[in-house]
């Protein structure tokens, strides 16, 4: 039981971490709550589905295509909409909801509302860890998250663009004074965020099914993680994602499976009230 709960927790936690990291990246750079990320995930998943089924591409090529679509759509959201509300934080939720409606309904109109399965070659496999079982799609999720987090860490720490993004997210004005071109950093972060969304589509799509609202519900959990970890704090998001996944899994098995989501949301409410800047942040950023 314990091992099973832990294993479930790691799978769930990986999903949250992957989602949250994409969200927190754009949050740090722009202070925009990017609800539209759910729409990017959806379109990326449909791209993979279309490439794989209608265009008969091999699964891995389709997955790559989906990632590119994710990146491009995400950059488009920045260029067409978010760019104009950077200085107006209270307009951001309106824009985000508008974008989400646009993206989800584009998927609905193009592909219909039916639930369709995205099927990687390992869809039917299962792996055993002691007495606990993990579906292969779950293992793929863990693997994808691990690789993505590592790649992201290397990017942010070791490359010039990555360091520039970190600078902008810490203090945009200072970064601009130092000669960093802000516009370019925004575009790059949204692109990476879009790729991360594509990875979520790749890993999460096979677990349930692809349909226009597939990511709307889990995005809420991702928000919990983003707030817990501190807005803009990538490492914080990754760690808290894992923690939240474990918390919800243990809660589901030992307390009540029906209220699984409730634990996460309750924690968020607590955090917002007691320590809005997150568990890990030590920046003196004004919270209001």
């Amino acid at each position: 039981m314990l091992i099973q709960a832990a294993v479930n927790g790691v799978v769930l936690g990986s999903l949250f971490a992957l989602l949250a990291v994409g969200l927190t990246l754009t949050y740090g750079v722009m202070e925009v709550p990017n609800f539209a990320q759910a729409g990017v995930i959806t379109l990326s998943a449909y791209a993979m589905l279309w490439l794989n089924q209608t265009a008969a591409c091999p699964f891995w090529i389709a997955a790559l295509g989906g990632l590119v679509v994710g990146g491009v759509v995400s950059v488009l959201t920045e260029r067409i909409a978010y760019r104009f509300v950077r200085t107006r934080p209270l307009a951001a939720p309106v824009v985000a909801l508008g974008l989400l409606l646009i993206l989800d309904n584009t998927a609905l109109i193009l592909f219909g509302g039916d639930h369709v399965s995205l099927s990687p070659p390992y869809a039917g496999d299962v792996i055993y860890v002691g007495s606990a079982s993990v579906p292969a799609v779950g293992v793929a999720l863990i693997g994808t998250t691990a690789v993505a987090l590592l790649a992201l860490w290397l990017f942010l720490q070791r490359t010039k663009t990555g360091r520039a993004i970190r600078a902008v997210s810490q203090n945009a004005e200072a970064a601009a004074i130092l000669g960093i071109r802000l516009e370019r950093q925004y575009i790059v972060s949204f692109f990476i965020s879009g790729i991360l969304a594509g990875l979520v589509a790749f890993a999460y799509g096979p677990m349930y099914a692809v349909y226009p609202y597939m990511a709307d519900a889990i995005l809420l959990n991702a928000f919990v993680v983003v707030v817990l970890g501190g807005l803009g704090n990538v490492a914080g998001a990754a760690v808290c994602g894992l923690l939240l996944g474990l918390l919800e899994s243990f809660g589901a098995i030992y307390v009540s499976a029906a209220y699984q989501n409730l634990f996460g949301f309750a924690v968020l409410l607590l955090m917002i009230v007691l320590r809005p800047a997150g568990l890990f942040t030590n920046r003196s950023r004004r919270v209001a």
Partner: protein, 325 residues
């Protein structure tokens, strides 16, 4: 004098308002016109209009804390739902209609008090996220509490009015009253204080405005008005289900207010008309209708930060300029 509104738009406010009675008369006349429209239209258009008016009530309530006070509350949907479910359940348990209404509004007010206290030191983005998740938690608990709310099946609502005609009078009347309420509050001490909080909360506190109490009052008032809207939608449809207070509803109400014109008396009416009317009246398949709505949200909030009301202002100002020339 020029002030900065909630969305960064520049606004001119007149210091002296010569004839307040005209405002109320105007709104009353509008309410009358809406009643005529409501009873003259056939049942389908009539139901769309009724929904618009009920949403106007809820978003007018929201206008107090979000429009005047600048606090982006995304939880109005929960109060709307509590109004609906509260009154329906109270009647089921034997309460007469008027008592049921009061109890539902009271329940929403109490929840508003609790939520307001919990978030008393939270602001901006965090307030938005926090209220949204509160709405989510309320919605989760109520829709899964099958023994109380009957879950997805929903509840049928006893009709509390004497006749449909009475209901048809109450709905536009309540909408007009909710608009008048915002007009009233905005010129009273509560309204002025909320506006100072919108401008600069820390400065307001510094000069002695009791910000905590003001915000709480505004929030509870918003909640109560939202509950009234909920009572009316329950009566009008005769049936309610959990998606009435899905967290999504609170979000959309905030968007409706923003797009119509936050802080403006008629903003809620325009915003609700747009949000409710677009999918239903254009008779498009739901996907295209919502896509259009999404595009318009984005365009409006980017191009016309003050919402439809500020666009109308600009048009009428240009017209009066050209007339004077």
């Amino acid at each position: 004098m020029t002030e900065i509104g909630m969305y960064g738009q520049q606004e001119t406010r007149q210091r002296v308002r010569p004839r307040p009675a005209w405002d109320y008369l105007g709104i009353a006349l509008l309410g009358f016109g809406l009643w005529v429209l409501l009873v003259e239209s056939n049942s389908f258009y009539s139901s769309v209009l009724a929904t618009i008016l009920i949403w106007t009530i809820a978003t007018s309530g929201l206008n107090i804390i979000a429009g005047l006070g600048g606090y982006p509350s995304l939880v109005q949907g929960a109060f709307y739902g509590i109004g609906a479910y509260g009154s329906a359940l109270a009647m089921k348990w034997g309460q007469p209609f008027w008592a049921a209404c009061i109890e539902a509004v009271l329940a929403a007010g109490i929840l508003g008090l609790i939520v307001g206290l919990v978030f008393s030191r939270t602001r901006g983005q965090y307030f938005a996220i926090g209220t949204m998740f509160t709405g989510l938690v309320v919605s989760l608990v109520l829709s899964n509490w099958q023994s109380l709310t009957n879950g997805l099946l929903g509840i049928n609502v006893e009709f509390g009015f004497g006749s449909i005609n009475q209901l048809n009078v109450v709905i536009p009347a309540a909408a007009a009253f909710s608009l008048m309420l915002v007009r009233f509050v905005s010129r009273r001490r509560l309204g002025w204080r909320l506006l100072t909080i919108l401008e600069d909360e820390d400065l307001a506190e510094h000069i002695g405005v009791p910000t905590a109490r003001t915000k709480l009052t505004g929030f509870v008032l918003s909640a109560c008005v939202g509950a009234v809207a909920g009572v009316l939608i329950a009566q009008y449809n005769g049936t309610i289900s959990p998606d009435l207070f899905d967290y999504y509803v609170g979000f959309v109400m905030f968007v409706a207010l923003s797009v119509g014109g936050a802080g403006r008396v008629l903003g809620p009416l325009l915003g609700s008309a747009f949000i409710v009317g677009t999918p239903d009246l254009l008779n498009l398949s739901s996907g295209i209708g919502l896509l259009l709505a999404g595009i318009i949200f984005v365009v409006v909030i980017i191009v016309i930060p003050g919402g439809f009301m500020s666009a109308i202002d600009a048009v009428m100002a240009a017209a009066s300029r050209s007339v004077r020339r």
